[in-house]
């Protein structure tokens, strides 16, 4: 059974069909790329999968369960986490606090026990703290744990965003342009990094990327969108040689 499956996923904004009948299959442990020219509907597709938008037609099925139209926070609880195209860190909070938030959903609805600081609550806080520190260490961010998140250099901010997403214990990690703003050296490091976390945390990864070196380098399979329509899918070599894809990016003479 596929981990994630979209079936005829469509969304219309008034007269504009931003994504038209998208079928995708993502299997466990794969790294899938979603590419296409700007405005092709890539982020919009992500938004439908993560519940930010409700599709006009079509379904999203995760681990056999229909999650179409569910609220974002519920989808996160089921095991899908994401990063954002324009980094959305919690600006005024520290690095550690940014990651701690991910644990909040595990506390349940017990405001009173939180206020009174019951032993059970304190245990959960400690667990959350330890988990978060572990993650920060693994991603090389533990030395800046008390820094305000936006004071970090850009590369570290991106890493923090990924750390934050990982803290929700996802099965599927969705990355929106993780290599944006990186030079070729940094992009190569990112590639290694993504492979590592996929292996270490037993993740499945779906990513939007424009850096072709990254996409072709680590993706097992690639989907190509143009004007909201899937125009190709396959392995990196298949995609590189696909006429339609070349036309979409370079235009037709």
């Amino acid at each position: 059974m596929a981990l994630l499956k979209t079936d005829k996923l469509t969304i219309k904004f008034g007269g504009l069909t931003a994504v038209n009948s998208l079928d995708m299959i993502i299997n466990e442990n794969e790294i899938i790329g979603l590419i296409g020219p700007n405005g092709a509907g890539k982020t919009t597709s992500f938004n439908m999968i993560t519940g930010v938008y409700t599709p006009t037609e079509g379904t999203v099925v995760f681990e056999g369960k229909d999650i179409t139209g569910m609220k974002t926070h519920e989808i996160t609880k089921l095991g899908i986490a994401r990063t954002f195209q324009n980094i959305r860190l919690f600006k005024d909070l520290t690095v550690l606090e940014n990651v701690l938030i991910a644990n909040h959903m595990r506390f349940g609805s017990n405001l009173l026990s939180a206020i009174v600081r019951t032993p059970d609550y304190m245990k959960k806080e400690k667990k959350a703290y330890d988990k978060s520190m572990e993650l920060l260490k693994a991603l090389g961010l533990d030395d800046v744990k008390d820094e305000i998140s936006t004071s970090l250099p850009y590369g570290k901010q991106r890493r923090l965003e990924i750390a934050r997403a990982l803290a929700t214990d996802p099965k599927l990690l969705i990355l929106d342009e993780p290599a944006a703003g990186m030079n070729p050296q940094e992009s190569l490091e990112l590639m290694e990094f993504i492979r590592e976390i996929r292996d270490t945390y037993k993740l499945t990864i779906l990513m939007i990327e424009h850096h072709m070196a990254v996409v072709m380098g680590i993706c097992d399979r690639i989907y190509v969108l143009d004007y909201g329509v899937k125009i190709a899918d396959g392995t990196p070599s298949e995609i590189q040689n696909n006429q339609k894809v070349i036309e979409a990016y370079l235009g037709v003479d």
């Binding site: 993560t50 930010v52 609220k71 974002t72 926070h73 996160t76 609880k77 986490a81 994401r82 954002f84 959305r88 860190l89 919690f90 600006k91 005024d92 909070l93 606090e97 701690l100 938030i101 991910a102 644990n103 909040h104 959903m105 506390f107 609805s109 405001l111 939180a114 206020i115 009174v116 600081r117 609550y121 304190m122 959960k124 806080e125 959350a128 934050r164 997403a165 803290a167 929700t168």
Partner: protein
């Protein structure tokens, strides 16, 4: 929480109590009244800061919740004879006439009712964006006020209620001091515990970036509602205490001018800082009283200057404008008081001494 922090907190509460006892013995009754007002405004500022400062919802509906609290506790504690005196235009609704509950119970009911109204207001209004939220909450607050002005048999309408019981059980005004400040301490402790808990972090995350917070598994609606309900509960408590302190309430008291005063306090103190709200509430309340002189006649020895009524509010409005234009983060920004400051101070002076020797 580390043991040292618990001890530090207990020491601070102890210190506060000592200060309260000392002040109790030295303040004149006029000064005590102002000081009590400071306490009430601390409660009100904290309740507003929770919603506006920590979660980032720009709510302007606070005076409505205060009105609910005030009227509830007033009507539930007022003895039958006083009610009959008040409701001379139209008799009070029969079921209200004979109810007379002890102050603490009425206070609590007032807070709970305010919280309920808060929930009812929040439910439809929370999904609106910033500006609409402000106007919608303001709208609800005005609707509440207009309802209170027109339900003659329950609230005595525009005439308002006079002769509210003094705060407390004994009926003696000195008791009010301890009730108010006791509740202040409870409120501050509650807020500190809340903000430093995982829920506090969730609130701040919502303020910083809703969409990212949701992606982290935070249920936006539930948490916004939570903050709103808690905030309105304390607004109701504050409103009740205010009413009983002043002894008289009427719908005009709960115009949005009142909300604005609290917004002023919160902004000056720093949106998102508990310490800031506390300090600002005390300073602003005292200053408001002190500046009353500007409205009346001022005597400097043989020199007499006639103040113009309204100057006081001009000064405060101007102050707010200056703060918002030049010191947007207010006094404390989002920082809090912490014992660490003292450590930093001694660290600095130690370094200074070492530097001098070299």
């Amino acid at each position: 929480m580390k043991k040292s922090k618990v001890i530090q907190s207990l020491i601070s509460i102890g210190l506060v109590i000592v200060i309260l006892v000392v002040l109790n013995n030295f303040l004149t009754s006029f000064q005590a009244r102002i000081f009590n007002l400071c306490g009430i405004y601390i409660i009100l500022a904290l309740s507003l800061n929770l919603i506006n400062g920590f979660v980032g919802l720009f709510s302007l509906g606070h005076s409505g919740f205060m009105a609910v609290g005030a009227y509830t506790s007033a009507l539930l504690t007022m003895p039958k004879e006083m009610k009959e005196m008040n409701f001379f235009l139209e008799p009070i609704a029969p079921w209200l006439l004979n109810i007379e509950l002890p102050f603490p119970v009425a206070l609590l009911i007032g807070g709970l009712l305010a919280a309920l109204v808060g929930a009812l207001v929040a439910a439809p209004v929370l999904r609106l964006n910033d500006d609409y939220l402000a106007i919608a909450t303001l709208g609800f607050s005005e609707i509440i006020r207009v309802i209170f002005t027109n339900t003659q048999s329950m609230t005595n309408g525009a005439l308002g209620l006079k002769g509210l019981n003094a705060i407390g059980i004994s009926g003696k005004s000195a008791e009010g001091y301890w009730w108010i400040w006791g509740i202040v301490i409870l409120t501050v402790v509650f807020m500190v515990l809340l903000i430093n808990s995982t829920y506090g972090r969730a609130f701040k995350a919502i303020r910083e970036d809703e969409i990212a917070a949701e992606a982290m598994g935070v249920n936006l609606f539930k948490h916004k509602m939570m903050a709103f309900v808690i905030g309105s509960f304390f607004a109701g408590i504050g409103g009740s205490l205010l009413g009983h302190l002043m002894g008289t309430i009427d719908p005009l008291l709960f115009r949005y001018l009142l909300t604005f005063n609290i917004v002023l306090i919160v902004v000056l103190g720093g949106i998102g800082s508990i310490t800031g709200s506390v300090i600002s509430a005390i300073v602003v309340t005292i200053a408001m009283e002190a500046l009353r002189v500007l409205d009346g006649t001022m005597r400097f020895g043989s020199l007499v200057i006639n103040g113009v009524p309204g100057t006081r509010m001009v000064v405060f409005s101007a102050l707010l404008m200056i703060v918002i234009l030049f010191y947007q983060r207010g006094l404390m920004g989002t920082k809090e008081f912490s014992w660490d400051w003292f450590k930093k101070l001694s660290f600095k002076s130690k370094n200074a001494k070492i530097a001098k020797r070299m």
